[in-house]
Amino acid sequence: MKAKYINPFINATMNLFKDYLGLEVKSGTPIVLEDPQALDEVSGIIGLAGETTGSVVLSFSKDTAIKIISKFAGHPYQALGSEVLDGVGELINIVAGNAKKDLLDFKIVISLPGVITGNDYRIHWPEQVPVISVPFITSAGDFTLNVSLKDA
């Protein structure tokens, strides 16, 4: 996966969490995700199709998801209810949709978002395409952005 394909997703994530939500955000060094099970308890996932294929996942701890969606919605959620999960889906939708404008090599269609919860799940990523995982450290908790996208 070319490096230039990960940057639009990092920029879209920074824009959402730093500029829009007003959180203090630092992104860490991207790594190749060796263990696809190494994701947090709450993951928003979106599929990419069209002139390439791939998936994008934002993965949070339960507490971080609740804090971030409370900030996003301007409403204090106390538990991981349906509206918080809905909000996680909306965050990944915004990241994927915003990244499209800078992915100039292909025309992409994004799927409706899905949200997975639990401690023991496995995402079946596209075969033979590495998953790049980028850690984000924020004032509301840490999360990872995970992207797998076939080269043009």
């Binding site: 824009n15 959402l16 829009y20 969606i69 996003f72 919605a73 301007g74 409403h75 349906s82 509206e83 809905d86 909000g87 889906g89 909306e90 939708n93 915004i94 990241v95 994927a96 949709g97 915003n98 990244a99 499209k100 404008k101 992915l103 025309k107 992409i108 994004i110 409706l112």
Partner: protein, 122 residues
């Protein structure tokens, strides 16, 4: 003037509704739909003056909703603000061609969205 918020995300509907309420729009003027199909039914039964419309939704998406709503005589020129995460230029072109009045990319701050909405308030 009535407003119809069309978005499959309950959180987004909450955010948009709060922007309207904060700007003195009465709750009785605000209608909500979780997809285009439900929105068409509400639009047929109510007199909607402004649509706040998402793009990607199950059952009937935003673009198909626009095509249907524009075929109803009384909604031929009613403002439709599409509020979507779809930021690619080709998406904007498709939406405007379909009959969307204004195109806004999420995330958008409440005061900026309200500035766009207020242009259409009679």
């Amino acid at each position: 003037m009535n407003f119809l918020i069309v978005d499959d995300s309950a959180v987004m509907r909450r955010i948009h509704k709060n922007i309207l309420l904060e700007n003195k729009i009465d709750e009785s003027q605000i209608f909500e739909a979780e997809n285009g199909e439900v929105a068409v039914k509400i639009a047929e039964n109510e007199d909607i003056g402004l649509f706040l419309l998402d793009w990607n939704m199950p059952k009937l998406d935003g673009l198909k909703f626009v095509q249907i709503i524009r075929s109803i005589d009384r909604y031929e020129d009613t403002p439709i603000i599409m509020i979507t995460s779809e930021a690619a230029k080709y998406n904007v072109v498709d939406a405007i061609s379909a009959g969307v009045t204004n195109y806004v990319v999420k995330p958008i701050k409440g005061d900026i969205l309200w500035e766009k909405i207020s242009r259409y308030i009679k």
